[in-house]
Structure formats: C-alpha cells, structure tokens
Point group: C2
Chain length 222, copies 2
DNA sequence: AATAACTTGCACGGTACTGTGCAAGTTATT
DNA sequence: AATAACTTGCACAGTACCGTGCAAGTTATT
C-alpha cells in the first residue's frame, strides 16, 4: 500500500530509497528485464515488501523508470537541429551516447511487455529524427543510395544500440564512446572509416568539448 | 515420460511430431525465449503433455534446438577459407545469412540461462574466425585502424545479428539479404558504401550463384 | 520525548508455469 | 484385425513469482 496522506511531511530517507530502487531497477532490469522485485529490492538494499511502499506494482516501477529515461533523452534530443544531415545524424548519435543508460533501459524494456506505449512515444520521435536525417542525406548525395531509407534508418538505430551495449560491457572513455557512436552511425550510412574520421574532425560541432582543463577520462582501450 | 523401449518400431508420425515441436520451438522461442511449453505445443499443433513424450524437459528441448543449429552453422562455416581477409569476412557474413534461423535461435538463447555452454562452443568458433580475419585485415591495411581488433570484432558480430534480425522482421530476397549482410560487415570494418559495392562486384567468390535459371526471388524492397 | 513516517517480516491467496501419473483414446504398423 | 506406438486430457504436487494485510519494529522530524 502507499502511505496514507501524510499529515506531517514525507521523510527525506524515503525519497532516497525511492531513488535507490529506481537505480537498482535500472541495473537489474538491464541484465534481465524479467527479474523479480526481490532482486531489485536486494540490489537497493531494501526488502521486497517495501517496494510496495513506493510503487503500486511492478509495472508502475518499470513505467516510472522508462518514462524518466524517455524524458531525459527526449529533451536532450530536442536541441539537435543542424542543416547538414550527416552532421545531424552524428549529433543524434553523440547525444544518445550521453544518455546511454536511459537509452539502454528503454531499449531493453521496449522489446516485450505492455510498455511499448510509453517507449513508442519518445522512441518514435528518435526514429523520426533519424529517418528524416537519412532521407535528406540520401537526397543530397551524402549518404548511401543502395538501401531504402526505412531499412537504413532501422539499421542505424539498431547499430547505435549495439555500440551502446558493447560500450557498457567493455568500458570506454566518455570521449571515446562519443566518437565511436558517431563513427559507427556514419559508417552505416556509407562513409568509409577515413572519410568518417575526417568528417568528424572537420566539423567543429562534432568536436569533443574542450571546456574545462579538468577532463575526466578513464581508460585507453579504444 | 519417454516411451518404454519400443518392442516393435517407432512410428513415423512420432518423429514427424518431434520435428514439428522443434520447428515450433524455433519460432516461439525466437520471439520470446521464456515462452511456455504450452505455447510451443500449440504452435506445433500438439498438446503440452505430449511434449514430454519427446523431450525430458524444457531444457532438453532447448538444448536440442540449439545444438542442432550450432552444428549446421559450424559445418557451414568450416568451408570458409580465403586468403584475403576482406573476402573471408564477407564470406563469413554470407554464410551466416544462409543460416539465419539457426543463428538467431542461438543468439537469442545464448544470452540467458545455462545454455551458454552449448552456444559458447560454436559461437566461440565463429568469433575466432571473425577476429582472425579482422586482425589480418588490419595488418594488411584493408580494414580500419582506428579501433582495437577485439572491439571491432564484437561490433562486426553484433551488427551481423542486427541485420539478420531486421531481415526476418522486414523480409528480403535471399539474394538481397546475402548482399546486405556482406555490405554491412564490410561497412563496419571501414569500407565506404561504393567501395564495398565494387569490392563485392570484383570478387567472383562473393557473387550470387547464378546456377539454375529458376531463380526464386520474392520481393523488391531493397 | 513524542509522533508520524517509514521498513520489515511473516503469512496469505492468487497466478502461471513445470513435470509427472494414469486412464482413455487414436492411429500407424504388422 | 490386432497390437504396440503414440496423443490427449485431467488431476496433482512443486516452484516461483506477485500483491496485500498486519503487527512490530526503526528512524527522521517536530
């Protein structure tokens, strides 16, 4: 049951636990979308019973998790608008990379179950963006012409997911991951590897933000 | 229970049903690895109960399914040996395309469960082949140098799966599918789309067998 | 220190699936 | 036509999960 309408005020640690549960769910459901609430609860350091203090049922937890992620991705993606389709595609890829976790959760859950409705919305928006960029890219000759735009769009999309998944399994510098997602997206739409490399180098919008001197990079594993 | 040691001879329709079950399992488990035996049985036009007449339990059915597929793929892949790594990679891709169903089942099942042992074997063999081709390709300069060979190998592998999955969802001519898998593999290792196209065209080994005049093609959807 | 806000454990009923036994059927084979 | 080879339906025990009620605890807040 949810708590009776609080007469005093919700406690601070309660909301903390709520977050903990969502975080745990993100981890657990990512490796097994069918995992039990018990598993989620223990991952969060709580008991199965207390899950129901925060979420009405399993579906609500999942839904909350997904919609939160969807919102993040969607808002991140709103700002991506660039006249050149190739650049736009690369930017979309780059943006997705920065939201890996959210994207992965959505992707994992979107497959099966009645969550399609939630994912379909934002996931559909992404799809439209990608497809749009591709149609334009094919029109202006910057992208491959040997595949139908729909198929190419799906391939780009799925390939991006592959990269994101691989990246989380075999960690990558944030910067390297960013670059890799762009490289692969460009590769799928037809650029050769040198071509893709020089393209990224030539576009300042695609450069890694050299903002602060404290650049947190982790590993060097390509 | 399995049937008591037959005193006469196994019936013909029994083995037919066994096949039907395996076929059904291939279909059902492919869209949901956790599907119930009831689902498999009805797909095969049989009752859940009779499944246990052919397989000791769920795991045995799955195992049988996977190992059969693994054998097919493995033997198909044995014949693939070509000095040029690029061609070899394309050939591997092409071969996998011809075994799509088996490959998909293995991939779907390999993820979870205690079937990793079975899949790991043949799946590992494929991996080694791919990695080997890539290492050589990078060495002789025909493949991209901006990614570590291990990562590239994984990306090629996963991308191939993506293509196969997409192809089964949005049907393709056998010939077109063959071409697409090769194109994508070559694309991931760094070729531009025109480059990949002409490469395939230039290599007779990669040409679609123009054997019989009755060439069964189905659709024209790119 | 008092109290409401939470967590926990246990017990319970409900669902969905597996694996098995058995009796009553059908159907291929001889 | 006889018989063994199968299929089926039903009933049952076993497991794993969900969602809930409640009583007894802990802990943040006032």
């Amino acid at each position: 049951m949810t708590f009776p309408s609080p007469a005093r005020a919700p406690r601070r640690d309660a909301t903390e636990n709520r977050e903990a549960l969502l975080a745990a769910a993100r981890i657990v459901f990512n490796r097994d979308p069918g995992a039990s609430l018990e598993a989620v609860a223990t991952e969060a350091g709580l008991s199965r019973r207390s899950v129901y203090g925060h979420f009405a049922n399993r579906d609500e937890l999942l839904r909350e998790l997904v919609t939160a992620g969807a919102r993040r991705v969607a808002t991140s993606l709103e700002s991506v608008t660039h006249p050149d389709p190739l650049t736009r595609l690369a930017l979309i890829a780059s943006t997705l990379w920065r939201e890996v976790e959210s994207v992965r959760v959505m992707a994992v859950v979107a497959v099966r179950g009645p969550l399609a409705s939630h994912t379909a919305g934002t996931l559909g928006a992404i799809r439209r963006d990608v497809r749009d960029a591709i149609v334009h890219g094919q029109a202006n000759g910057s992208m491959r012409q040997d595949l139908a735009s729909d198929r190419l769009a799906r391939l780009v999309e799925d390939t991006a997911l592959v990269v994101l998944e691989d990246a989380t399994r075999h960690p990558l510098t944030a910067r390297e991951g960013d670059r890799l997602t762009m490289l692969m997206a460009l590769g799928v739409v037809g650029l050769g590897w040198r071509e893709a490399g020089t393209f990224i180098a030539s576009r300042p919008e695609l450069a890694w933000p050299a903002t602060h001197p404290d650049q947190t990079d982790e590993q060097d594993d390509n």
